[in-house]
């Protein structure tokens, strides 16, 4: 039941926003405080779900709800979590809460705070639903629920090019969703059930090889749009750049993970034969994404756009991990998901802080010498960049390193030579990643402040600290003690791949 609560709380909060402003929560601040409270309650439920979760048996689906929904077509309202989904659920609740906390003091320009609060809460419902749904149609419903609020957030609170960015975002991802639906139904019709737990337990038996290959291709492309995988990534830089800070944080922090989560949760277990056929291609596109994303970052002038492209590279490592079809690779992918959520979430918060103070995220406009003018902001930015470039001891490293380990010895049915090459290319990508982050840091934090630049911006506010510090602490915790996450994911991943 606990996941029903987790969705009911933000949903009720969103519905409460329908009450006219003169009856309930008259001031904008009250609305923001209300949103913070609701998301805090959701986070509390998420934490209690964590305590209720039996970490001794992470491969079992726990905390289940399984009710009939539309019995005539075999549709069930089936929720639950195992070691693969639980970290993502908690990450969602955490990031949403931090976004509200940040909004408390720094609301995005554009007003209409009631609508924003409602949208973010609906977004949270959709995300939690996606990560806990265990019925294919239910999964798809939540998967789609997420798109509309995000579209509106970009459309109403975005930057100058928001209209084009929002349309591209929604059309592109809807196209992907259509393919996902087609692929899932293809499997479901052939297998005769919509239940993901049952389907996963069968490891593809009962579905012919041809159907599996087709279905994986459909689902794979659909999820790859979301992830995003090269060359299906072009919606992402625009959407990230135009979205307001909270939008970018949630987009990068959680929304992208829906794609990779879908691959691991739906595509791989339902169509293992299809996965084996397509994995080398997935791996190839993933490493192209790593290098391509890094090179694109190297020539960016805009901070936000650079972070957006860096997501292409980082998610490339996640996809490479999945493509190896090994336990270590998928562990890497799940680890990379969380690490990227924490670090890139932090980076987008920081980009928002830069924008608040300098009015722009253009690196040339910001100038240099931020370590002198805004030392704390610059220090945290340095920390986040170093974490993102994959320094061991911080969260970003383990996902990359394990993905490379997986690629060195991929699943026995995959071409080893190709994957070893992928590993080497990924290594070069990691080097380029360091290159563009250091270039960015040198450009805006080092040097002296240009004479014409604005004065020292306002000091870092308590709300900004409140949004940053949990992410910094978790980046350190997960980085210094990777066991926290790996222990949770290792067992379910083995079960997923059919091992003991």
């Amino acid at each position: 039941m606990i996941f029903v609560w987790m969705m009911a709380i933000p949903l009720c909060g969103a519905l409460a926003m329908l009450v006219p402003a003169d009856r309930f929560l008259r001031t904008d601040f009250a609305v923001r405080a209300f949103g913070t409270g609701v998301s805090a309650a959701t986070l509390l439920v998420a934490v209690s779900a964590m305590t209720a979760f039996d970490f001794g048996d992470t491969s079992r689906t726990q905390l289940q709800v399984n009710e009939a929904w539309a019995p005539s077509i075999g549709l069930r309202f089936h929720l639950g979590a195992d070691g693969i989904s639980l970290p993502l659920v908690v990450l969602t609740a955490l990031l949403t809460f931090l976004c509200f906390l940040y909004t408390l003091r720094h609301p995005p320009a554009g007003g209409r705070i009631r609508l924003l609060t409602a949208l973010l809460l609906v977004l949270e419902v959709g995300l939690i639903g996606t990560f806990t749904a265990l019925d294919l149609v239910l999964f798809f419903v939540f998967f789609e629920t997420v798109l509309i609020p995000m579209y509106v957030v970009i459309m109403l609170w975005g930057g100058d090019g928001r209209r084009a960015a929002a349309s591209k975002f929604i059309l592109y991802t809807l196209l992907g969703s259509g393919l996902v639906l087609a692929g899932m139904l293809l499997v479901a019709v052939n297998a005769g059930t919509l239940d993901m737990v049952q389907l996963a337990a069968r490891h593809g038996s009962g579905v012919s090889r041809g159907v599996q290959i087709t279905a994986f291709a459909l689902m794979g492309i659909g999820f790859a749009v979301k992830a995003p995988m090269w060359p299906l990534h072009t919606w992402l830089p625009d959407a990230h750049t135009e979205a307001p800070t909270v939008g970018s944080v949630l987009l990068a922090g959680v929304l992208l993970k829906m794609g990779t989560y879908g691959l691991v949760r739906v595509a791989l277990p339902l169509t293992p034969d299809g996965a084996r056929v397509w994995a080398p291609w997935l791996g190839l596109l993933a490493v192209i994404g790593i290098v391509y994303g890094a090179l694109a970052c190297l020539a960016q002038r805009d901070l936000k756009r650079m972070i957006a492209y860096s997501s292409v590279g980082h998610m490339g490592f996640v996809l490479l991990g999945i493509a190896t079809l090994t336990p270590v690779g998928i562990d890497a992918a799940l680890f990379g998901n969380i690490a990227h959520g924490l670090i890139t979430g932090l980076l987008f918060f920081l980009a928002g802080a830069v924008k608040d103070r300098w009015g722009s995220t253009d690196m040339d406009a910001v100038g240099g010498g931020m370590l002198g003018t805004a030392p704390r902001l610059a220090s945290v930015l340095t920390f986040a960049s170093v974490a993102s470039l994959g320094l061991p001891g911080l969260a970003g490293f383990w996902g990359e390193m394990l993905a490379m380990t997986g690629a060195y010895r991929p699943d026995a049915d995959l071409p080893r030579g190709a994957f070893v090459t992928f590993m080497a290319v990924a290594g070069i990508g990691a080097l380029l990643t360091a290159g563009y982050f250091l270039r960015m840091l040198a450009k805006i934090t080092h040097g002296t402040r240009p004479a014409a630049a604005a004065d020292r911006g306002p000091a870092v506010s308590a709300q900004e600290y409140a949004a940053w510090v949990p992410l910094i602490a978790l980046t350190l915790l997960v980085g210094l003690w990777p066991k926290t996450l790996l222990d949770v994911t290792a067992a379910p991943v083995r079960a997923l791949l059919g091992g003991g």
Binding site: P392, F397, M404, T405, Y408, A430, A434, G447, A490, R494
Partner: protein, 638 residues
């Protein structure tokens, strides 16, 4: 034992956090400017001092009761080969850790005076602490991935410390260059670890070494070569050496700590640590030998022509590290570690003394020094000991260690085969190799190494002599007042002069490290030749630079053989152009296709819209035409 070692690592690590977050506030709390009440300085120095004591205890216990001790904190299941978070203490790690702690403490103490008044002293000291912790982690690591973690953290600390004065773009560039060049090697290093770990089915160093002989030769050679890439990056060996001379942009104590005694030595330490792997891959050893010869001769020539005292020392570091690499390449691990320790002592001394010189004269350029021996006696005598050790003057430490390297190279060149290892640094799995004895490199490489070493000895003496003469002799060439800088600085330097002078005698305890008459005399002779030539040139005109005698090649040497320019042309600019190309392609290629497909859909919609123009006449006409067509078809095909 393991607890002591982990505590020695943990203390500076916590000090780093403490200093970063609470250094200045502790300073305010204690409210004094005296050395004992200076908050950040206290946080910086006290933990390293305790670590030094712990490292000394560890070294003493290991000396009394040799053998290796391992301890595992936890095992991380990765889904493949597990990572064992653990440490390993043995003779090699204990003695290197002791050296690291000594240098780190000296640098921290020295920095209190050198960085006095610096606004960012607290973060500076915190990064030194973090660096010390990371280096100790590398030294004590019992698992390859734990080692790699320390390895990379050192790299980022080096980046922060080189860029300590980030206001100047040149420092910022040097910091970025240092990190990226070493990271280039580290990409290979990480892949090497993965290859090795998956090949041996464990990342534990002990486990890897004991399973070396079960791995196919191709895997071993590939792993060893990949590891060498990382080693070349960290130890600034050709072709990844270019970051080190530029890294001199950092504050001088940092150069002493990172770019002389510790971090750059980590590369050679790792080769010694994983020597079983390299010994089983003669191809990799041969590559190491060639790389070492190129580095040591090339860097020594470059050092001969530098204008900047710190850059002379930087190139000499590259050259001396290559001497260690050469020793490792001919199978003389003990000699390499011996030289590593001796070099750590005398190079830290030289850099810190150079810091005194720079603090007094306000310039790092040799052309602005001169005649300093009268006003700065402590610095003069200490630095003389350092230069003597560097040049290999008996009985200073460098002479003993270099002699043992030459002896090993000579043995390999004349008799083939490597030396058998015993003594201090012997490491159990090495002695249980398949062949019973380490195979040496191919004869050609051994000869190359031997001749390269001899040439380097002469060149080293020459550039050491030149720097010594130009700094301390002749007439003063500046308007500054010649006097010793603060006492803390000179005392630290004087204290470091002791190990630089006497460390060599410890080598008498092991048979393979004792001086041998042949190579010893040869070494001394060549050193006299090199130093004497420089002295004669200088003596003709003490006011001028002896390097002027090099003529036109001086410029080539001074620029480090234009390797930087070559890289800029061959790598940096193409990558930048490629990056711009990718951005263009992304907009005009990939994204344009997406947008075009959207436009295409709209255009298609536009075509379909033509019949739906809202005009009833058109609709009716269409309807009638349809009826007629159907009727006609029905009639025709009935």
């Amino acid at each position: 034992m393991i607890w002591l070692a982990s505590l020695a690592i943990l203390l500076p690590f916590l000090a780093a956090f403490g200093g970063m977050l609470g250094g200045p506030s502790l300073g305010r709390l204690l409210g004094g400017r005296s050395a004992l009440r200076d908050g950040p300085a206290l946080i910086a120095c006290a933990p390293v001092a305790v670590s030094l004591v712990l490292a000394a205890v560890v070294a003493f216990v290991v000396w009394q009761d040799p053998g290796e001790r391992t301890g595992t904190l936890t095992v991380i299941d990765t889904g493949s080969v597990p990572i064992r978070v653990g440490l390993q203490v043995d003779g090699l790690s204990a003695v290197v850790a002791l050296m690291v702690c000594c240098v780190a403490l000296a640098v921290q103490v020295y920095s209190v005076a050198y960085m006095d008044g610096d606004r960012r002293y607290s973060s500076y000291a915190a990064f030194i602490s973090l660096f010390t912790a990371a280096m100790l982690l590398v030294v004590f690591a019992g698992d390859l991935l734990v080692l790699y973690a320390g390895w990379e953290v050192m790299g980022i600390c080096s980046y922060f410390l080189i860029g300590h004065r980030w206001e100047e773009r040149a420092n910022s560039r040097a910091a970025v260059k240092a990190f990226l060049v070493t990271r280039l090697g580290d990409a290979g290093f990480l892949i090497g670890i993965i290859v090795l770990g998956l090949g041996a089915r464990t990342f534990e160093i002990h486990g890897v070494l004991s399973r070396v002989w079960t791995m196919p030769d191709a895997t071993l050679t590939a792993a060893a070569l990949l590891l060498l890439a990382g080693v070349a990056g960290k130890s600034a060996q050709f072709p990844l050496h270019t970051w080190l001379p530029d890294a001199m942009a950092g504050p001088t104590p940092i150069s002493a700590l990172i770019h002389a005694a510790t971090m750059v030595a980590a590369g050679m330490y790792v080769v010694a640590r994983l020597y079983g792997v390299f010994a089983a891959a003669p191809g990799a050893l041969a590559v190491l030998g060639v790389v070492a010869v190129v580095s040591m001769v090339g860097a020594a020539l470059a050092a001969l022509a530098q204008d900047d005292l710190k850059r002379v020392l930087a190139y000499s570091t590259i050259s001396q590290l290559a001497v260690m690499g050469a020793a490792l390449a001919v199978g003389a691990k003990s000699a390499a570690v011996f030289h590593l320790l001796a070099h750590g002592a005398f190079k830290a001394l030289l850099f810190l003394a150079a810091g005194c010189v720079i603090a007094t004269t306000g310039s790092a350029l040799l052309a602005n020094h001169g005649g300093l021996r009268r006003g700065m006696p402590v610095t003069f005598w200490s630095m003389t000991a350092g230069f003597a050790a560097l040049a290999g003057v008996p009985p200073f430490s460098g002479w003993f260690s270099k002699d043992s390297v030459i002896e090993a190279a000579q043995h390999a060149a004349l008799h083939g085969g490597g030396t058998t290892e015993a003594g201090w640094f012997a490491y159990a799995p090495l002695n249980s190799t398949r062949h019973g004895e380490i195979t040496g490199p191919p004869g050609g490489v051994a000869w190359l190494v031997y001749l390269g070493l001899l040439l380097t000895v002469a060149l080293t003496a020459a550039y050491a002599m030149r720097a010594w003469l130009m700094v301390f002799f002749g007439e003063p060439r500046g308007t500054y007042e010649i006097r010793e800088p603060s006492r803390i600085m000179t005392w630290t330097v004087a204290a470091l002069a002791v190990p630089a002078a006497v460390l060599g005698f410890f080598g008498l305890g092991a048979s393979e490290l004792r001086p041998h008459p042949g190579p010893a005399l040869l070494g001394i002779g060549l050193a006299i030749l090199g130093a004497g030539t420089v002295f004669l040139v200088w003596n003709r005109d003490p006011a001028s630079d002896p390097a002027a005698g090099l003529g036109p090649v001086r410029r080539v040497f001074a620029r480090g053989f234009y390797v930087d320019e070559l890289y800029a042309m061959a790598i940096v600019r193409p990558v930048q152009a490629l990056a711009r190309g990718v951005v263009r392609f992304d907009r005009r290629g990939v994204d344009a296709a997406v947008v075009a497909s959207g436009r295409g859909a709209r255009r298609l919609g536009g075509l379909l819209r033509i019949p739906q123009n809202g005009n009833p006449q058109t609709y009716l006409t269409g309807l009638l035409a349809g009826v007629v067509a159907i009727t006609a078809l029905a009639v025709i095909f009935r």
